[in-house]
């Protein structure tokens, strides 16, 4: 304890140098923690949005539907929807049908993706439904109403209430057509989706494709991402043996988003390593300068009876104190900045006129951070460990001082 007290006093011998080093380390900690928390928050929101609009936290597919998107890979869910919904931690199960088709109005035609959904199940979950810019959501699962992407609506040159025809290939290869009516238009912000989305009732979609009662996907929305690990084996156990119908995680079902996040985290790690290198150089510089300035004093301390090991520990104690102060200060600053970014976020709307996509998911222009306390603690401990590591060389140098020679040092 007394050595820590002495270390504290020694640290403030050169107030300006210590303050500059402390500021550099603390700001590095703050920036690392806050920027990670910002990414963490933005990704959490994107994953949430992605899983709700896309394939869920966990998804039930047949075969390799996730990759191949072959229409024939539909399956009869039987009582699966109810059974999965009964698992603790599952918020909603969304059965969906996906059909590539051709949409034709009296003036234009476009390739589309007919998405069959259960409107009641999707309500309150699917974030696209909050982005209806005209008309309203379809009401029933077997009606002829359709919700169209805003760009598609424009390209087909039709409006709310207009009729249009959807043509697709049936299971036998024959062409099947259905007359639908525009009930509403949605602007998701994802260019491709807004130009191809035709959302209709699931029963109608399955019937028109000649696969009544069958689905291509069961998107399982959990109460939180943390439930994934626990729920997945329970869900697996409900599936018929043989493995033809299987469960995928959101990372497996939406590899674009998962990989984009992984790539971004990897680039963040590189920046983190660079920042930590700067921290290390700062600590080495401060402690080495401090040791070199005190050669004579170290000689005196050795003459008074301190062992070289004790001198080494004195320098390590200074690094420990420096690291402790820097990690505490940095974490306080990091927490303050994170708090601001959680409460207020960064509003990019004035900078970005169009909505942005990231990994196939719309990027919210108001970026908000989320608390990742484990990461913050890890960074703080890294800085402490790095400070101690950086002090090894100066400490070694101090311990190698020959007392008689050191006392001749001016």
């Amino acid at each position: 304890m007394e050595f820590l007290h002495l270390a504290w006093k020694n640290l403030w011998r050169n107030r300006r140098r210590t303050l500059i080093t402390l500021a550099a380390i603390s700001l590095s900690v703050m920036l690392t923690q806050a920027s990670h928390n910002l990414s963490f928050g933005v990704y959490a929101q994107m994953i949430d949005s992605g899983v709700r609009a896309g394939s869920g936290h966990l998804t039930v597919y047949r075969g390799d539907y996730a990759r191949s998107r072959k229409e024939e890979l539909s399956f009869d869910p039987g009582t699966l929807v109810e059974a999965i919904a009964a698992i603790d931690g599952v918020a909603r199960v969304l059965p969906r049908v996906y059909l590539p088709a051709l949409a034709q109005s009296s003036r234009e035609s476009r390739g589309v993706l007919v998405t069959g959904v259960d409107p009641q199940a999707e309500a309150g979950i699917n974030p696209f439904l909050k982005k209806i810019i005209a008309g309203e959501m379809i009401g029933s699962s077997d009606g002829r109403d359709a919700l169209l992407g805003s760009r598609l609506l424009k390209e087909l040159k039709i409006s709310i209430g207009s009729k249009f025809v959807v043509t697709l290939q049936g299971p036998e290869g024959d062409l099947l057509s259905e007359l639908l009516r525009v009930r509403g238009a949605v602007e998701t912000g994802i260019k491709d989706l807004d130009g191809s989305l035709v959302m209709i009732g699931r029963q109608r979609a399955a019937a028109m494709a000649g696969i009544p009662g069958r689905v291509h996907e069961l998107a399982v929305i959990l109460q939180g991402r943390a439930e994934e690990e626990r729920v997945r084996p329970l869900l697996d156990a409900l599936l018929p043996p043989g493995g033809e119908v299987r469960v995928l995680s959101w990372e497996e079902a939406m590899p674009n988003l998962a990989n984009a996040i992984k790539l971004d985290y990897a680039s963040q790690r590189v920046i983190f390593i660079i920042i930590m290198l700067i921290v290390t150089i700062g600590v080495v510089n401060t402690l080495l300068m401090s040791v070199m300035e005190r050669i004579r004093e170290f000689g005196v301390i050795l003459a008074l009876g301190a062992t070289p090991g004790r001198l080494r520990r004195m320098v390590l104690a200074e690094a420990l104190v420096l690291g402790l102060v820097a990690m505490t200060l940095g974490t306080i600053l990091g927490a303050a900045l994170t708090w601001y970014l959680v409460e207020h976020g960064i509003d990019l709307r004035s900078l970005i006129s169009e909505s942005l996509e990231f990994g196939g998911v719309v990027f919210d222009p108001v970026m908000r951070a989320a608390w990742d306390l484990g990461y913050m603690l890890r960074i703080a401990l890294y800085v402490l460990a790095l400070s101690l590591l950086a002090s090894l060389y100066p400490a070694r140098k101090a311990a190698r001082i020959a007392p008689a020679e050191a006392m001749r040092h001016v």
Partner: protein, 236 residues
């Protein structure tokens, strides 16, 4: 058996491509309770001998035995322990630790020994009172005069009750009056507490205070004489 015994000691330092003989085949014995001065001009080997006796350096040849222990042998750790428990140092430029206050400086060796804080403080209070620097405990070295700093340094050297106190030109940076006061003080401590003092100096006034004068020249013993102490000016 003498407290300090140097037997045919030679110390050679490398200086660039050359070698300098700082102490040359010196044989010397100092008994416990002596008040001796190593006198001689600069370069005569005074500081080197103090460093050898204090275990700060090892002889190139010969042996240095303090209280039955050969300081040329043993590990750096063992030598550090020897300095911590047996030797007290007083330096020409005081060498107090600037970030510590006077009391913390004085109790530094006790702290290294692991003596509890309350015990240390009691000892320091007693010493400060004895050395006439009571009330200066919380002052930093920078706020003390040269004489006060050297008294704190004496307190630091005395605190652990060492076998011998080695003082390298302890009054070189002080004015005459302060130097005399300090010499009287050291002589009183020698007389009352039976602490052995060996100090180096080339100042005739300082030399006049010693009971035994060991004169050195070019690292060799020139003369070794005993003298009567100056009766005047004894410390109160």
């Amino acid at each position: 058996m003498p407290l300090i015994a140097l037997d045919n000691v030679t110390k050679i330092y490398p200086l660039g491509h050359q070698q300098v003989t700082a102490v040359d085949r010196l044989t010397l014995a100092i008994d416990a309770g002596e008040f001796s001065v190593l006198a001689g001009p600069s370069g005569s080997g005074k500081t080197t001998i103090l460093n050898l006796v204090g275990g700060l350096d090892r002889p190139s040849r010969g042996s240095v035995v303090i209280d039955g222990r050969d300081v040329g042998e043993g590990s750096a750790r063992a030598l550090a322990d020897f300095r911590l428990r047996r030797v007290g140092f007083i330096f020409q430029s005081y060498n107090l630790i600037p970030v510590l206050n006077a009391a913390e400086n004085a109790e530094f060796t006790l702290m290294l020994q692991g003596v509890p804080r309350t015990v240390r403080r009691e000892r320091i209070e007693e010493l400060f009172s004895d050395l006439g620097i009571s009330g200066l405990e919380n002052r930093k070295p920078g706020d003390l005069s040269g004489g006060q700093q050297q008294r704190v340094a004496i307190a630091r050297a005395m605190a652990a009750e060492p076998t011998v106190i080695l003082a390298d030109e302890p009054t070189a940076n002080l004015d005459t009056q302060t130097s005399e006061e300090l010499l009287q003080l050291m002589r009183r401590l020698n007389r009352e507490q039976k602490t052995t003092f060996v100090f180096s100096s080339h100042d005739p006034m300082v030399i006049a205070y010693a009971r035994r004068v060991i004169r050195l020249r070019d690292g060799r013993l020139e003369s070794d004489s005993r003298q009567d102490l100056q009766p005047a000016g004894e410390a109160p």
